[in-house]
Symmetry: C2
Subunit: 139 residues, 2 copies
Protein backbone atom coordinates (compact mmCIF):
# COMPACT_ATOMS: atom_id res chain seq x y z
CA UNK A 1 0.00 0.00 0.00
CA UNK A 2 1.24 3.49 -0.84
CA UNK A 3 2.23 4.81 2.52
CA UNK A 4 3.38 8.27 3.51
CA UNK A 5 1.88 10.61 1.01
CA UNK A 6 3.26 14.05 1.48
CA UNK A 7 1.25 15.59 4.26
CA UNK A 8 0.99 19.32 4.17
CA UNK A 9 -0.63 20.44 7.33
CA UNK A 10 1.71 23.27 8.08
CA UNK A 11 -1.28 25.47 8.67
CA UNK A 12 -0.81 24.90 12.37
CA UNK A 13 1.56 26.78 14.59
CA UNK A 14 3.59 24.81 17.07
CA UNK A 15 3.53 26.07 20.61
CA UNK A 16 5.91 23.54 22.09
CA UNK A 17 7.78 21.98 19.20
CA UNK A 18 10.16 20.04 21.43
CA UNK A 19 7.35 18.43 23.36
CA UNK A 20 5.58 17.48 20.15
CA UNK A 21 8.73 15.98 18.68
CA UNK A 22 9.46 14.08 21.87
CA UNK A 23 5.92 12.80 22.20
CA UNK A 24 5.35 11.51 18.71
CA UNK A 25 7.70 8.52 18.70
CA UNK A 26 6.35 7.27 22.03
CA UNK A 27 2.80 6.80 20.79
CA UNK A 28 1.26 3.52 19.70
CA UNK A 29 1.15 2.61 16.06
CA UNK A 30 -1.97 3.48 14.12
CA UNK A 31 -2.61 -0.19 13.49
CA UNK A 32 -2.59 -0.97 17.16
CA UNK A 33 -4.92 1.88 17.97
CA UNK A 34 -7.18 0.86 15.11
CA UNK A 35 -7.44 -2.64 16.57
CA UNK A 36 -8.26 -1.14 19.94
CA UNK A 37 -10.86 1.07 18.30
CA UNK A 38 -12.39 -2.01 16.65
CA UNK A 39 -12.68 -3.71 20.01
CA UNK A 40 -14.34 -0.72 21.64
CA UNK A 41 -16.50 -0.32 18.61
CA UNK A 42 -17.94 -3.77 19.24
CA UNK A 43 -18.99 -2.49 22.64
CA UNK A 44 -20.32 0.82 21.37
CA UNK A 45 -23.82 -0.36 20.55
CA UNK A 46 -26.44 -1.07 23.18
CA UNK A 47 -27.86 -4.07 21.35
CA UNK A 48 -24.44 -5.71 21.35
CA UNK A 49 -23.93 -4.83 24.99
CA UNK A 50 -27.26 -6.42 25.83
CA UNK A 51 -26.25 -9.54 23.95
CA UNK A 52 -22.93 -9.64 25.74
CA UNK A 53 -24.47 -9.15 29.16
CA UNK A 54 -27.00 -11.92 28.55
CA UNK A 55 -24.30 -14.30 27.32
CA UNK A 56 -22.16 -13.46 30.33
CA UNK A 57 -24.87 -15.03 32.48
CA UNK A 58 -25.41 -18.17 30.45
CA UNK A 59 -24.98 -19.77 27.08
CA UNK A 60 -27.99 -19.09 24.86
CA UNK A 61 -29.28 -20.16 21.47
CA UNK A 62 -30.20 -17.49 18.95
CA UNK A 63 -33.94 -17.80 19.38
CA UNK A 64 -33.74 -17.47 23.15
CA UNK A 65 -31.42 -14.50 22.83
CA UNK A 66 -33.92 -13.04 20.46
CA UNK A 67 -36.64 -13.52 23.09
CA UNK A 68 -34.52 -12.07 25.89
CA UNK A 69 -33.81 -8.91 23.93
CA UNK A 70 -37.23 -8.77 22.30
CA UNK A 71 -35.64 -8.25 18.93
CA UNK A 72 -35.88 -10.01 15.60
CA UNK A 73 -33.82 -13.12 14.96
CA UNK A 74 -32.25 -11.46 11.98
CA UNK A 75 -31.06 -8.42 13.90
CA UNK A 76 -29.56 -10.67 16.56
CA UNK A 77 -27.86 -12.89 14.00
CA UNK A 78 -26.27 -9.91 12.27
CA UNK A 79 -24.87 -8.62 15.52
CA UNK A 80 -23.67 -12.07 16.53
CA UNK A 81 -21.77 -12.28 13.31
CA UNK A 82 -19.92 -9.11 14.15
CA UNK A 83 -19.13 -10.35 17.66
CA UNK A 84 -18.01 -13.66 16.22
CA UNK A 85 -15.66 -12.03 13.75
CA UNK A 86 -14.06 -10.12 16.60
CA UNK A 87 -13.80 -13.38 18.56
CA UNK A 88 -15.80 -11.98 21.43
CA UNK A 89 -18.30 -14.83 21.33
CA UNK A 90 -18.01 -18.53 20.65
CA UNK A 91 -20.66 -20.72 19.08
CA UNK A 92 -21.42 -24.41 19.01
CA UNK A 93 -24.02 -26.24 17.06
CA UNK A 94 -26.50 -28.58 18.70
CA UNK A 95 -28.86 -29.98 16.11
CA UNK A 96 -30.71 -27.12 14.55
CA UNK A 97 -29.79 -24.79 17.40
CA UNK A 98 -26.65 -22.74 17.65
CA UNK A 99 -25.55 -21.83 21.13
CA UNK A 100 -23.52 -18.72 21.75
CA UNK A 101 -21.37 -17.89 24.75
CA UNK A 102 -18.80 -15.31 25.72
CA UNK A 103 -15.29 -15.99 24.55
CA UNK A 104 -13.32 -13.30 26.27
CA UNK A 105 -12.43 -12.69 29.89
CA UNK A 106 -11.45 -9.12 29.19
CA UNK A 107 -15.03 -8.16 28.59
CA UNK A 108 -15.91 -8.53 32.24
CA UNK A 109 -13.13 -6.15 33.15
CA UNK A 110 -14.18 -3.66 30.52
CA UNK A 111 -17.78 -3.81 31.75
CA UNK A 112 -16.69 -3.34 35.35
CA UNK A 113 -14.57 -0.28 34.65
CA UNK A 114 -17.17 1.12 32.30
CA UNK A 115 -19.78 0.84 35.02
CA UNK A 116 -17.56 2.65 37.48
CA UNK A 117 -17.30 5.47 35.01
CA UNK A 118 -21.06 5.62 34.50
CA UNK A 119 -21.72 5.65 38.21
CA UNK A 120 -19.24 8.41 38.97
CA UNK A 121 -20.48 10.34 36.00
CA UNK A 122 -24.05 10.31 37.23
CA UNK A 123 -22.74 11.51 40.58
CA UNK A 124 -20.78 14.30 38.95
CA UNK A 125 -23.68 15.56 36.89
CA UNK A 126 -26.09 15.55 39.81
CA UNK A 127 -23.52 17.49 41.82
CA UNK A 128 -22.69 20.00 39.14
CA UNK A 129 -26.33 20.93 38.72
CA UNK A 130 -26.26 22.32 42.24
CA UNK A 131 -22.83 23.82 41.91
CA UNK A 132 -21.10 26.65 40.19
CA UNK A 133 -18.63 24.73 38.05
CA UNK A 134 -18.88 23.45 34.53
CA UNK A 135 -22.15 24.95 33.55
CA UNK A 136 -21.06 24.38 29.97
CA UNK A 137 -20.62 21.06 28.21
CA UNK A 138 -23.38 19.44 30.16
CA UNK A 139 -25.04 18.31 26.95
Amino acid sequence: MPNDEIIELCETTLVDADAVAALKPTLSSRDELQSLADLFNALSDSTRLRIIEALSRRELCVCDLSAVLEMSQSAISHQLRLLRQLRLVRHRRSGRLVYYSLDDQHIHGLFAIGYEHIREESLRTSQSSSRYLNSEDAA
Copy 2:
Protein backbone atom coordinates in the same frame (compact mmCIF):
# COMPACT_ATOMS: atom_id res chain seq x y z
CA MET B 1 -42.35 9.41 26.92
CA PRO B 2 -44.76 6.75 25.66
CA ASN B 3 -43.14 3.59 26.91
CA ASP B 4 -44.06 0.00 26.26
CA GLU B 5 -45.67 -0.08 22.91
CA ILE B 6 -47.09 -3.47 22.23
CA ILE B 7 -44.24 -5.55 20.96
CA GLU B 8 -45.21 -8.39 18.71
CA LEU B 9 -42.19 -10.52 18.11
CA CYS B 10 -43.81 -13.85 18.71
CA GLU B 11 -42.25 -15.07 15.52
CA THR B 12 -39.56 -16.70 17.62
CA THR B 13 -39.79 -20.06 19.22
CA LEU B 14 -38.58 -20.38 22.78
CA VAL B 15 -36.23 -23.24 23.47
CA ASP B 16 -35.83 -22.67 27.18
CA ALA B 17 -38.68 -20.42 28.26
CA ASP B 18 -37.88 -20.71 31.94
CA ALA B 19 -34.31 -19.64 31.46
CA VAL B 20 -35.39 -16.69 29.36
CA ALA B 21 -37.96 -15.62 31.93
CA ALA B 22 -35.45 -15.98 34.75
CA LEU B 23 -32.73 -14.11 32.89
CA LYS B 24 -34.67 -11.06 31.76
CA PRO B 25 -35.22 -9.36 35.10
CA THR B 26 -31.55 -9.71 36.07
CA LEU B 27 -30.25 -7.66 33.16
CA SER B 28 -29.21 -4.02 33.29
CA SER B 29 -31.64 -1.35 32.24
CA ARG B 30 -31.48 -0.15 28.67
CA ASP B 31 -30.56 3.32 29.89
CA GLU B 32 -27.57 1.99 31.77
CA LEU B 33 -26.39 -0.04 28.82
CA GLN B 34 -26.91 2.93 26.54
CA SER B 35 -24.66 5.03 28.76
CA LEU B 36 -22.06 2.30 28.68
CA ALA B 37 -22.38 2.14 24.92
CA ASP B 38 -21.86 5.90 24.72
CA LEU B 39 -18.66 5.59 26.72
CA PHE B 40 -17.29 2.80 24.55
CA ASN B 41 -18.41 4.70 21.51
CA ALA B 42 -16.10 7.53 22.51
CA LEU B 43 -13.27 5.00 22.39
CA SER B 44 -14.37 3.41 19.14
CA ASP B 45 -12.57 5.77 16.80
CA SER B 46 -8.84 5.70 16.24
CA THR B 47 -8.52 9.47 16.03
CA ARG B 48 -10.08 9.82 19.46
CA LEU B 49 -7.89 7.04 20.83
CA ARG B 50 -4.84 8.82 19.47
CA ILE B 51 -5.96 12.03 21.14
CA ILE B 52 -6.56 10.23 24.41
CA GLU B 53 -3.22 8.47 24.34
CA ALA B 54 -1.38 11.72 23.65
CA LEU B 55 -3.22 13.51 26.44
CA SER B 56 -2.47 10.65 28.80
CA ARG B 57 1.20 11.55 28.44
CA ARG B 58 0.88 15.28 28.89
CA GLU B 59 -1.43 18.21 28.72
CA LEU B 60 -1.51 19.70 25.21
CA CYS B 61 -2.99 22.70 23.47
CA VAL B 62 -5.12 22.14 20.37
CA CYS B 63 -2.47 23.22 17.89
CA ASP B 64 0.16 20.91 19.35
CA LEU B 65 -2.32 18.05 19.42
CA SER B 66 -3.02 18.83 15.82
CA ALA B 67 0.70 18.58 15.06
CA VAL B 68 1.14 15.36 17.00
CA LEU B 69 -1.67 13.65 15.10
CA GLU B 70 -0.88 15.36 11.81
CA MET B 71 -4.51 16.26 11.39
CA SER B 72 -6.38 19.51 10.83
CA GLN B 73 -7.19 21.75 13.76
CA SER B 74 -10.86 21.55 12.87
CA ALA B 75 -10.96 17.77 12.95
CA ILE B 76 -9.23 17.75 16.33
CA SER B 77 -11.53 20.41 17.75
CA HIS B 78 -14.61 18.49 16.68
CA GLN B 79 -13.38 15.34 18.36
CA LEU B 80 -12.35 17.25 21.48
CA ARG B 81 -15.86 18.57 21.74
CA LEU B 82 -17.23 15.07 21.82
CA LEU B 83 -14.70 13.98 24.44
CA ARG B 84 -15.50 17.09 26.47
CA GLN B 85 -19.22 16.40 26.40
CA LEU B 86 -18.57 12.93 27.72
CA ARG B 87 -16.33 14.41 30.40
CA LEU B 88 -13.36 12.36 29.31
CA VAL B 89 -11.14 15.40 28.87
CA ARG B 90 -10.78 18.63 30.76
CA HIS B 91 -9.76 21.98 29.30
CA ARG B 92 -8.33 25.18 30.63
CA ARG B 93 -7.73 28.44 28.84
CA SER B 94 -4.35 30.16 28.83
CA GLY B 95 -4.51 33.33 26.80
CA ARG B 96 -5.34 32.36 23.28
CA LEU B 97 -4.43 28.73 23.86
CA VAL B 98 -6.71 26.05 25.26
CA TYR B 99 -5.00 23.17 27.00
CA TYR B 100 -6.64 19.77 27.16
CA SER B 101 -5.88 16.93 29.53
CA LEU B 102 -7.41 13.61 30.49
CA ASP B 103 -10.19 13.78 33.04
CA ASP B 104 -10.83 10.14 33.77
CA GLN B 105 -8.81 7.50 35.56
CA HIS B 106 -10.93 4.72 34.14
CA ILE B 107 -9.53 5.29 30.69
CA HIS B 108 -6.15 3.92 31.68
CA GLY B 109 -7.79 0.72 32.88
CA LEU B 110 -9.85 0.42 29.72
CA PHE B 111 -6.75 0.92 27.60
CA ALA B 112 -4.82 -1.67 29.58
CA ILE B 113 -7.48 -4.36 29.29
CA GLY B 114 -8.10 -3.51 25.67
CA TYR B 115 -4.43 -3.96 24.93
CA GLU B 116 -4.39 -7.35 26.61
CA HIS B 117 -7.22 -8.38 24.34
CA ILE B 118 -5.41 -7.16 21.24
CA ARG B 119 -2.23 -8.94 22.17
CA GLU B 120 -3.90 -12.27 22.88
CA GLU B 121 -5.97 -11.88 19.76
CA SER B 122 -2.91 -11.48 17.58
CA LEU B 123 -1.48 -14.59 19.22
CA ARG B 124 -4.67 -16.53 18.57
CA THR B 125 -4.87 -15.60 14.94
CA SER B 126 -1.23 -16.39 14.25
CA GLN B 127 -1.78 -19.77 15.88
CA SER B 128 -4.98 -20.61 14.09
CA SER B 129 -3.41 -19.97 10.71
CA SER B 130 -1.15 -22.96 11.32
CA ARG B 131 -3.85 -25.05 12.87
CA TYR B 132 -6.98 -26.88 11.92
CA LEU B 133 -9.51 -25.01 14.02
CA ASN B 134 -11.64 -22.02 13.22
CA SER B 135 -10.96 -21.69 9.59
CA GLU B 136 -14.18 -19.69 9.43
CA ASP B 137 -14.79 -16.27 10.91
CA ALA B 138 -11.22 -15.24 10.42
CA ALA B 139 -12.34 -12.15 8.54
